[in-house]
Structures are given as structure tokens and as C-alpha cells.
């Protein structure tokens, strides 16, 4: 494998150039030789390969190309070299390596237009999917025996019970941060005692449910999309249909119901844990005893704050479940789609939840639940 091929150039009486090569013509040594050959300016009429002991297809290719550009004749090739030369002779091509690039001024408007069309198709798709879910739900109500209780309980465990530790930790820390940071600001007005109001109202009305929704979207919405998407890829969903089982009834409805129910429970749980976090800060940093903090919560937080949170939670759960299942069912083709659809499920769920939360905030204030 060592030593590049040696090149010798001879000129005969008629001024024609003959090239003789010696040594190995292999992929490992052909780089420098190729540059040397490209540097030759004279017209070559003959290429002598009798001194070449080793050759592979890449060496043969370089010789073939050289012969073709100079219309030279190859002589002295060993049987093996001849065979390789024949093999690569007709394989030349000048096709491009990459598909042609569309210029920016065409690409950007095109992508924008596609985005608009995709959005339109997406909205129609989601509404259609919601319709299918409602029809499936209706047929389940007419045949309650078919209701997938087991699957729903299993999903409730995955969405709800397994999420307790992480959501608990998150809410506890948020409660601590709100109480501690709120106290620092309120202290400037000598209103430290109002920290209780701050923690109680903001967690029950907004943050408890909102943060839980984001967490559930990341944990379970993505799982829904990935699970159903993988089932679509392995044709499990198609197999169900051919047996006469509705994938909406078996896969989608249990997940959506589980997300809807569990969001209510998790949202309430998160608010309570956040208040406990606030009370811990009250005990150690603000001089408000733990149980006094909790009693004050009952006095300063109106009951409708709890209702605001509890009404929002199932709607958010529905959106998360719907987005996860919709994107899962839309997977088709290859495994790349699963990742793409999972991301889309989480992003669209969180986006919809935050937009809807803004609407809810205005709505509840307008009806006097401010």
C-alpha cells in the first residue's frame, strides 16, 4: 500500500506523448497522482499500464477518465486491470450530487404559502378529528359495554399518578419562589402580610393549572403522539380497523378522557402544594406561622378563585389530549414523522393552552370573578 504510482512521460519523433505508469494505482495513493495528471498540458496519445502491479476501481476510473479526455489508448493492461477498466468504463456520469437549490427569493414566499395552507389544513383536520372523537364518544354512550375502562384507568395512572412527584416538586418550588419574591416587593410598602393573598390567589387562579398543563403536555401529550404514531407506523392502527375495532374508541378516547380528568386533579393538587410551599416560606422567612398562613388563605381567597382553576383545568386537559392524539394519528411514512409530530403536539398544545388562558382571564374578570 505504500508509495504512489510513478509517472514517466516520453515523446516520440512525431511529437506524440506517451505516458507510462509504474507502481500501485489504488485509492490510498491516487490523490497526488490525480493532481499530477491534471497538471499535464500536452496531448497524450497512449497510456502504458504494464508497470502497474496493483489496481482497484478508483485507479481504473482515473485511467479511464484520462484516456477519455485525451482520446488516448490504454496499452499493457493486465487481465485484472482490463476487467476493472471495462467495469467502470460505462459508469461515468456528470449528474449533480445534490438537488438544485431554489433561490431565497423563491424559497421564502413558497415556504410562507405552504405554511398558510398547512395551517388551513391543520384547522380543518383538528375540527374533523374532534368530530370523530365526539361521534366515537356518542357510540360509546349508546353501547356502554364497549367502554374501554381498563385502557382509561391505565392512562389515568400514566398521566396522573406517575406525574405526582414531578408536579409536586415543581409546584412546591414555584410556591416558594412566589412567596419569597413577592415578600421582597411587598415589604417596600410594608404589606408583607399580603403575601398570603398573592400566593393563594395566583396559584389557585392561574399558575397551578397553567404550569400543570405545560407539564402534562410535555409528559403525556408527547407520549400520546409518540405511542399512537408508532402504532400507525407498525400498521397496528390499520390492523385494528380491519378487525372492526375503532382506533378512536380504543386509543384516542381513553387518552383524552384520562388527560381531561387528571388535569382537574393534578391542577388542584399543584395549587395546594404551591400554597404549602408558600406557607413554608412564611414560617421560616416572614414570621407567619405555618397554620396561620393556611387559615389566612381561607379568609382572603374567594371560593370562585378555586372554581376558575377547576373550570380551566379540564379544558386544558382536553386540548392536550386532543393535540397529542391528533398528531399521533396523522403520522404516516417514516419514523422521522413520529419525532416531528410529537414536537408539534407539544408545541401546539402549550400554545393553545396559553392563548385560551388569556381568554379565560378576561372572561372571568368580566363576569365579576375578578
Amino acid at each position: 500500500m505504500d508509495g504512489a504510482a510513478q509517472l514517466s512521460v516520453t515523446e516520440d519523433e512525431a511529437g506524440r506523448i506517451a505516458l507510462a505508469l509504474e507502481g500501485p494505482l489504488l485509492v490510498s495513493t491516487v490523490g497526488p497522482l490525480d493532481r499530477e495528471l491534471n497538471a499535464l498540458s500536452q496531448e497524450i496519445t497512449a497510456i502504458d499500464l504494464s508497470g502497474v502491479e496493483e489496481i482497484d476501481t478508483i485507479g481504473a476510473w482515473v485511467m479511464c477518465r484520462l484516456a477519455a479526455t485525451h482520446e488516448a489508448e490504454i496499452t499493457g493492461a493486465s487481465p485484472r486491470a482490463k476487467r476493472l477498466l471495462d467495469a467502470v468504463e460505462n459508469a461515468g456520469s456528470d449528474a449533480a450530487m445534490t438537488p438544485p437549490r431554489v433561490p431565497v427569493w423563491k424559497r421564502v414566499p413558497e415556504a410562507l404559502g405552504e405554511l398558510v395552507f398547512d395551517m388551513r389544513a391543520g384547522i380543518i383536520g383538528v375540527v374533523g378529528f374532534l368530530g370523530r372523537v365526539l361521534i366515537g364518544f356518542g357510540s360509546l354512550l349508546r353501547h356502554p359495554g364497549r367502554f374501554p375502562v381498563k385502557a382509561m384507568v391505565h392512562q389515568m395512572e400514566l398521566v396522573g399518578v406517575s406525574a405526582l412527584p414531578i408536579i409536586g416538586l415543581m409546584s412546591f418550588l414555584i410556591g416558594i419562589v412566589i412567596a419569597q419574591q413577592g415578600a421582597v416587593q411587598l415589604e417596600q410598602f410594608g404589606a408583607e402580610a399580603l403575601t398570603v393573598n398573592l400566593v393563594g390567589r395566583i396559584t389557585l387562579r392561574e399558575l397551578g393549572v397553567l404550569m400543570t398543563a405545560i407539564m402534562v403536555a410535555g409528559r403525556s401529550g408527547s407520549a400520546f403522539a409518540a405511542q399512537i404514531g408508532t402504532m400507525k407506523l407498525t400498521e397496528e392502527v390499520d390492523a385494528m380497523r380491519t378487525i372492526g375495532i375503532s382506533p378512536v374508541e380504543v386509543l384516542v378516547i381513553p387518552r383524552i378522557l384520562a388527560a381531561t380528568f387528571m388535569m382537574v386533579l393534578l391542577g388542584f393538587y399543584a395549587s395546594v402544594v404551591a400554597i404549602i410551599g408558600g406557607a413554608v416560606v412564611g414560617q421560616f422567612a416572614l414570621g407567619i406561622p405555618f397554620f396561620t398562613f393556611l387559615e389566612r388563605i381561607q379568609e382572603v381567597v374567594p371560593t370562585y378563585d378555586l372554581w376558575v382553576g377547576l373550570i380551566k383545568a379540564p379544558v386544558f386537559g382536553l386540548i392536550i389530549g386532543l393535540a397529542g392524539c391528533y398528531h399521533g394519528m396523522r403520522v404516516s411514512g417514516n419514523s422521522e414523522q413520529v419525532g416531528l409530530r410529537t414536537t408539534m403536539a407539544v408545541v401546539s398544545a402549550i400554545f393553545a393552552v396559553i392563548v385560551l388562558d388569556a381568554f379565560f382571564a378576561v372572561f372571568f374578570t368580566e363576569i365579576g370573578w375578578g
Binding site: 489504488l26 485509492v27 490510498s28 491516487v30 490523490g31 497526488p32 490525480d34 493532481r35 491534471n38 502491479e53 496493483e54 482497484d56 476501481t57 478508483i58 476510473w61 482515473v62 477518465r65 487481465p79 485484472r80 476487467r83 476493472l84 467495469a87 467502470v88 459508469a91 461515468g92 456520469s93 456528470d94 449528474a95 449533480a96 450530487m97 445534490t98 438537488p99 417514516n334 422521522e336
Partner: protein
């Protein structure tokens, strides 16, 4: 095989496996497995599902660290070397995985360029592109496939593109994992003849895992049978049948085995 045609042959077996043992937890896939691949042959590797054909291949190419045993490739011991390290022999073999395992962000042509760029950076860009192009065509793909991305190719075309990448460096040793699985019979036969042709023109040694009885009859010089955690027999198909091993008899004398044999015989007479 005319040895004078292939000066790269050294006379030593390119792959030697001795006493190989592979364990997953308590479950042993291989126990005291030994195998030798001879120069210039197409060795077919067969065995029931789960007998560890792919694990054997992965062990030889250094992706699976065996629990015990020695594996030498081109006379160099590769066991006990970290899989991510350069084994020193990687530029001398080519591997085609079952699904092609093409890099999905690169076009077919760029896929073939990758090993050339890695091992021989002193080749000019223009020459490297030319090499990639003719390798793709040599693997039996049409010209317009060069600029396509793997996601735009059919299963059979992906396999051919995988083969083109495996052949990029003109390897001496080629590993093929179920090259004809999932191909239609015409495509499978074409792939078989392509393998045979490449082996003869390039002087390749081929390690070929297959379930395809036609492939075994048509192009394999020898067949190694994996059963009972070992290579129970290696030889030509008549030699294998003579051993009388029950699995081998069932494999080659079953309805599919007989059908493949009669096709092969008809082919030889015609």
C-alpha cells in the same frame, strides 16, 4: 478462482473467529463459536431467527464486544479494542446494513463520499465526486438517484445505495446483512448477480447473512450454519446435507429448499 488476477490476496484468511462467546445477561447467543472466512469466497451465513447471525457480524466488525474469544480481521486482533476507536482495518472492509443505514441528511452521492473523505482526504473534490457517481451507477442505481435523499428511495434502492457506500473504498472484505430481504424476486436476483459480478471483478471476499435459499444456491461458495449457539457446519450445500444435522436437513429439504434447488438446477442446464 484465478489467483493471478488478484494480487491483493495474501494467502491468509481475512476473518478468523475463535472461541467466540456472546452473552446478553444470562442468555448466551454464542458459545465457543469458531469460523474462518477464506479469501475470495462468498460465505453465506444461515440460521434460524435468533441464532445470532447479526450479532456474529456485529462482533466481527467491532460493534459488539464479545464476552470471550478472539476475532482477527486481516490478521489483526480486533477484540478488546473500544468500538469507537480506529481499528486500523476499517478502510479495508465495507458493511451494508439491512435497511441501508444511509445518513438521512445527505444525498446518496454524498453518502458515498463520506468514507472517501474520512480515509483519503487528499483526493480532490472533483475526483471524489466522480468516484461517488460511478460507484452509485456501478451498484445498479439510475443516474437521477445520485442527488436524491434516502427518504425519497424505495427499500431496494436504499439497499443498493448502502452497497455503493460499502464499496466506496474498494474494500477487500464486504459484509452484507440480508441483502435480498424485502426485495421482489426480480430485484433479489439482480442483487445476487450484482454481488457475484462485483466479487469477481473486484476480488472481494463476501460475508453474507441471508434467509434467501436462492441466494445460497446461486452465488455462495460455502455456507456456514448457525445453530445450538455454534457454527455447526461449514461447506458447500451438498456437504452440509451430508452432515445429517436435523436443522440443516429441514432447511434444505423443506419445500422452499427443494424449490430453490430445482430452480438452480434448471438454471445450470439452461
Amino acid at each position: 478462482m484465478d489467483d493471478t488476477l488478484h494480487p491483493r490476496f495474501s494467502g491468509n484468511p481475512p476473518v478468523v473467529v475463535e472461541g467466540l462467546e456472546n452473552k446478553f445477561g444470562d442468555f448466551a447467543v454464542h458459545e465457543d463459536l469458531s469460523l474462518e472466512v477464506r479469501e475470495g469466497e462468498i460465505l453465506g451465513v444461515v440460521g434460524g431467527s435468533g441464532t445470532g447471525k447479526s450479532v456474529l457480524m456485529r462482533s466481527i466488525i467491532g460493534l459488539q464486544i464479545p464476552s470471550a474469544g478472539d476475532i482477527s480481521v486481516f490478521g489483526r486482533k480486533i477484540t478488546g479494542i473500544d468500538p469507537d476507536q480506529d481499528l486500523g482495518v476499517r478502510c479495508r472492509w465495507g458493511v451494508m446494513f439491512q435497511g441501508g443505514a444511509l445518513f438521512s441528511t445527505l444525498t446518496v452521492g454524498e453518502n458515498v463520499e463520506v468514507p472517501l473523505k474520512k480515509f483519503f482526504p487528499d483526493i480532490d473534490d472533483e475526483l471524489r465526486r466522480e468516484i461517488a457517481r460511478y460507484k452509485v451507477l456501478l451498484s445498479g442505481l439510475p443516474e437521477d438517484a445520485i442527488a436524491k435523499y434516502p427518504s425519497e428511495l424505495s427499500g431496494g434502492m436504499k439497499k443498493r445505495a448502502g452497497l455503493a457506500r460499502a464499496l466506496a473504498l474498494d474494500p477487500e472484505l464486504l459484509f452484507l446483512d440480508e441483502p435480498t430481504a424485502g426485495l421482489d424476486p426480480i430485484g433479489a436476483a439482480a442483487f445476487d448477480s450484482l454481488t457475484k459480478e462485483l466479487k469477481e471483478t473486484l476480488g472481494l471476499t463476501v460475508f453474507l447473512i441471508t434467509h434467501d435459499l436462492d441466494t445460497l444456491y446461486e452465488i455462495c461458495d460455502r455456507v456456514a450454519v448457525l445453530a445450538d449457539k455454534q457454527v455447526v457446519a461449514v461447506g458447500t450445500i451438498p456437504e452440509l446435507i451430508e452432515t445429517g444435522h436435523p436443522w440443516i436437513l429441514e432447511y434444505f429439504n423443506g419445500p422452499r429448499g427443494r424449490a430453490a434447488l430445482s430452480t438452480h438446477q434448471r438454471g445450470e442446464q439452461g
